[in-house]
Symmetry: D2
Subunit: 424 residues, 4 copies
């Protein structure tokens, strides 16, 4: 089995995507680039509405934002008709390569960027070496540029591997960062005949060379919260105001004070808050986005339950109304130890892999869980792999950057694992 990976080419793909980051449901150029490459490698390619099926539970950027990014993609050379289709029915790509009668094996990667402005100074390698994001306020600060490059690297490797016996499905999922892309791809039907599904993430504080074959994630639920009070002139009639910002501030403090749970990890975050209209007006409204997480679905529900008390109590404290809208929940599919162990065995001697672990509880969330769940419902199984990569700065920070050597390691590891799974 050949595992020769053209690292230079991987780096090239990654840097091109890095320069053109596109957040959730706006991966127009990204979708086009991936589809084009897969086609050239002989894959049967499904894009956008043929790769995902919107379920109604997705979250989308504002109309205006999507418009702007769509125009940008067209300016960057994407076919306007394709952009139109993706806008209407969703982004993302599924590539299929039939190579014999063996099992159907799948690899899911995610491809969306973040609304984070990338660091501009010379200390930041992408800036120094000229592949910094060209899109102000957006960047690949979670490494999905690398994930997409890995998917394409695996495509190339497996396409060239004559011994591969089975069907390979590569799923390039859009909108992983809280946009509900996982659910939409799970609903597409492409996973229903998959026997073994792998998913992958780079970095996550694991050094280059380390591979985890069975990662578990936190369940996460997202909420939009709106406090509605009464505006009033802050000097002339402060007593007529019902201060929505005071309610929100009370809520923020009490949300972060939700007690830890001795059964396992929990998380709470108020990611954004916006309130008020003018400095001399008692704020009559305040909106915030909140996330609860737990190591298990139960722990996440515990946080959610306490959250609701804190929100309702804050509203009552200041005589305002509160509405709580659940954006959705990303479940935490446990890995199957058998699959994790099998893959650990298969990749033990992959070049560059220095440390293999079969389990890690990751303090993050992943909607790949919906895809794995779907596969299980249809009789298959799957696991989530972590491929270590030395980082310049943590995920979701403006200076995020990773060791590109991890790209080759990931492609070799996944190609080997997929081949092994295909071989049964």
């Amino acid at each position: 089995m050949s595992l020769d990976v053209d690292t230079q080419s991987l780096v090239g793909i990654r840097r091109d995507l890095h320069e053109h980051p596109e957040p959730g449901w706006c991966e127009f150029r990204t979708t086009a680039v991936i589809a084009e490459r897969l086609r050239r490698l002989g894959f049967e390619v499904h894009v956008g509405p043929d790769a995902v099926e919107l379920t109604g539970e997705e979250r989308f950027p504002g109309e205006e934002t999507i418009d702007r990014r769509a125009e940008r993609a067209i300016e960057e050379g994407v076919d306007p008709d394709l952009v139109d289709r993706l806008r209407a029915g969703g982004t993302g790509v599924v590539g299929v390569l039939e190579r014999g009668d063996g099992p159907v094996v799948g690899l899911r990667t995610d491809i969306d960027a973040l609304d984070i402005h990338e660091a501009e100074d010379e200390d930041h390698r992408p800036a120094r070496e000229g592949f910094r994001s060209e899109h102000a306020g957006e960047s690949h600060a979670c490494g999905h540029d690398g994930h997409a490059a890995i998917g394409l690297g695996v495509a190339e490797t497996v396409a060239a591997d004559e011994s591969f016996d089975g069907t390979l499905k590569l799923l390039f999922q859009p909108g992983e960062e809280g946009w509900g892309g996982g659910r939409a791809m799970a609903a597409s039907g492409h996973l229903d005949d998959v026997d073994s599904l792998l998913a992958v993430h780079l970095g996550l504080d694991l050094p280059t060379g380390t591979v985890v074959t069975g990662a578990d994630f936190l369940t996460v639920s997202g909420f939009e919260v709106e406090f509605s009070g009464t505006s009033a002139h802050s000097a002339a009639a402060p007593h007529e105001g019902k201060n929505a910002l005071l309610a929100a501030s009370t809520a923020v403090q009490n949300l972060y004070a939700i007690p830890r749970h001795s059964d396992g990890e929990t998380r709470i975050n108020v990611g954004t808050l916006e309130a008020g209209t003018a400095s001399n007006v008692v704020p009559g409204s305040a909106t915030m986005s909140v996330e609860s997480r737990g190591r298990t679905d139960e722990l996440c529900a515990y946080v959610e339950d306490r959250m609701e008390s804190a929100l309702r109590g804050a509203a009552e404290s200041h005589g305002v109304d509160v509405s709580i809208t659940k954006r959705g929940t990303t479940i935490s599919a446990d890995h199957d130890p058998a699959v994790a162990g099998r893959i650990a065995d298969a990749i033990a001697d992959v070049e560059g892999v220095t440390d293999v672990r079969t389990h890690l509880a990751v303090p993050g969330s992943e909607d790949a869980c919906y895809l794995i769940e779907r596969v299980r419902e249809h009789g298959g199984d799957g696991t989530y792999l972590l491929v270590g990569a030395d980082l310049a700065s943590g995920h979701h920070t403006p200076r995020f950057d990773f060791d590109e050597n991890a790209l080759g390691i990931a492609v070799r590891t996944l190609s080997r694992a997929l081949a092994a799974e295909a071989a049964g």
Copy 2:
């Protein structure tokens, strides 16, 4: 009319009381000292249960505290039988002197001390000059020692004033500092035949020489608040706790954030908070005492209304219960401008009085209002006088002390005013 006041004697009385401060409903020695002096001056004297009638709305110190202070009074020479009577039916004194057929005029002073430990260093005059409180943790930090001395000085002056035509009632009220003494004395019946009632306070940021003849006060309501949650081991089961201290802290912050009202002054205070049992236990209960005030009864009610929202919201925020017990309300009886003007005229040339004002809105509360209200209900009227006194430090602070020259000024002013009211 003679207004010769024996200042030395006034200072002596004041300092003796200052050394033996007794907080509300524990004025055993104070009652005995006052009664004794009045008797010697020929007054008909009513003490304790004959001076006040408990209404059931009073607040009392703990049993143990009363015991300790009763024993102390006996050790200080008070007749044990008298102490027993006062314990059972209340403290305080009413002295009556009939001197002709003229109207019944009254003077109300208050006599209780505070639970404040008096400053001990030489910079504090009472310490330096040897009349500091002998009762650790208790002191006359509001000047009621001076008020009692003034009442006795007026007794002496009027008793010696042959031209006085009328009946003088001196009401030495117990428990003014939030204990409900005003209500109890109002209920006694002693005020029902009073035609004109004066009440007096020293200091209040007015310099020696200033007299205000019509002071208005804030309405005040007091509350005991109890949050009841669930204790739990803070490390082993923090999630099982319902944290009453977190609820109380949330409440404290939101209570002080009650909006100002553009119709007039408001106040809120959380005077005490006690919570929890041990450092490694999530606090299951918390109690606090809260006071709301307003320039008018309506403004006080506004604060109370917001207070209730803040308390209930805080409880809901943390899943605990809250009980709110109203200790009582002290109303804000408006002064009668006619009486204030009449008295201002009468005292204009009193020795030592350099500035007479007919009105001041005082940012404090006074249960003398209940006595004035009672007099009005029976066809009489009254007003509240402030007698300026330079202060070493604000009321209710450990270093409170006042210019004793104000004692003579007050006795002369009040004797003159009472004589004028008696003269019709």
Copy 3:
């Protein structure tokens, strides 16, 4: 002296401005309309950069907002060249009418609208009667449309009053609502020869028919506050975050808890708060706008001092940095009782005026104080008048509307007062 006011015309002007509200420094159409009318009445007219002098302490809307409103004004028929001049040098109008050798008397009105979306339902008269704001999100919710109409009504009345002996200066000030327009107009020099300056406000909880001739305002200071912490992934590395939103929430609660002051009214408001970027990121920054006020400059400084402690303490609590930028202070020029009394006498029998008061302490702020101050520095004097108007809803609320009968009363009152001042 003729005081015939064409009420129908006043209402027409007011409603036209009401339909085209323009917030601070964007009063392009408003400036044009006022200038045009004054010119027709024979006034010497100074617009924009000739009416104000920017001092560098102004606050301006965002570039994009100004652009949009400038384009809108042009679409509404304003000369593009004029719009360009106003954008560059400021908005506003000064009209001068010389009518003899008498003193120079001035009237200052303000003309800017607010960023408040006007109510749309039929219960709201402007909606019902068809003169609701055509500018979404903007409205004359403080009655400056009425103020501008009053200024133009006075222009017409005085122009027609042959007995008027003196020079009339009408100052239509831009940007009163926290934008610093008062300072800029004071700096223009137009006030330096004014002997007597009047300013006016409608409504303020006074019923139609009431006029106050000496209003005092609160000193107000405005601040932009920015908390800068450290973003981090809220699930993977919450401990690496320094939460700027938690700091801001702590600050909000402690700001509103700044103690009341017994020397007089104080106010604090956090008008806006914006924090965070995404629901799964610990917020690394938060900005808010804060206002402190006091009945005197000292009381405002007291609030400011406590504010700073609360802000710095909140930052330290969460290990973040805070920067506090003072936007400016609007002073509280005390009225001159002599001027107030003189004018009260002059207007006693004006038609429609049923109640004249010489003093009111208004719980609001006004940058007219800068103009009065400037006049005083040059030897003149002035006062601030309030003209009562029944309101449908409080100032700065979406349903604000006033009794238009007040327009005629105001024009008659001010014309009479200006004539009297001109007559010496």
Copy 4:
């Protein structure tokens, strides 16, 4: 080897201690009862100052509390001379039994009760069956009555076990509940020749029949925090106050909001808060007890670091001073997997033991860690065992009670383990 345990006798001892609970450093009767029994079994007995050496880092109850409990112990029949010795030099017992030349093996149990008032109703078995605490406000709500009984049961079993070859040291440690007893017993020197030390805890959510042979604990640090501000009359001069309670409330909210750490468990608790003196006084002081914990010493230090910021920031927010006094730290000695495994093997077939686990991370803290650490410093080793017991209610709650069948299981398990360790 005989493991016959007289369960009836164990239950008797436990219930006697349960009826006479004595919190930390007040275990006068408990010490006497244990010493007496050990002497009868032939142990060499060291009590009080001979069993512990005070290090200066202990925390003690108030003088008055100790007095009261000492008198009570004497009334309950304890020799007054012994009580005097224990008051002066500390409580606790060490019993030594030499039975051959084998290794020195030790068992540490703890014996103090808690300041928790035991439930009184019939649903609570101790009340129903007549062995409820006779000491109001104090109870064995953590099961140390059982621990002491287990120690005495082991004493009896080993004394009767002729095959036991070695020296047995039984350490009955005082003041485990935050009083620093572990440190004091470690300093005594009794552990320096111990080769293998076991410690034990009942319950902790493990069902009867389960035994854990290697428990790890959280590091915990305790702090006394005092905020010192300025009192002031809440109505007359609120602006002169520096509100220590507002500072404390701010601190409470921000302490509980200390971010979770992704490296492992952390805990924070504010166990008690006391503030203020009277309802009409701005609270000038507030004291609270705070505990930080972490799975490792580093994690505990992280919490402590954040705690300090929150406390200092809260003080600055309200212009008050804060003093932070560290009461002490209880370290988290990791168990030695070798010892845990060895003991698991030894006890596999003990009667009543149905489930043996070699490791559990307990979300609590234990100063037994100081004793194990001391043993390690001198070349020995040790481990902490958990013996499951069905509970009626959680540890540290008024309704705590445990399945007494666990007593026999514990005595058999520990006797077997000690014998095995002695056998090498």
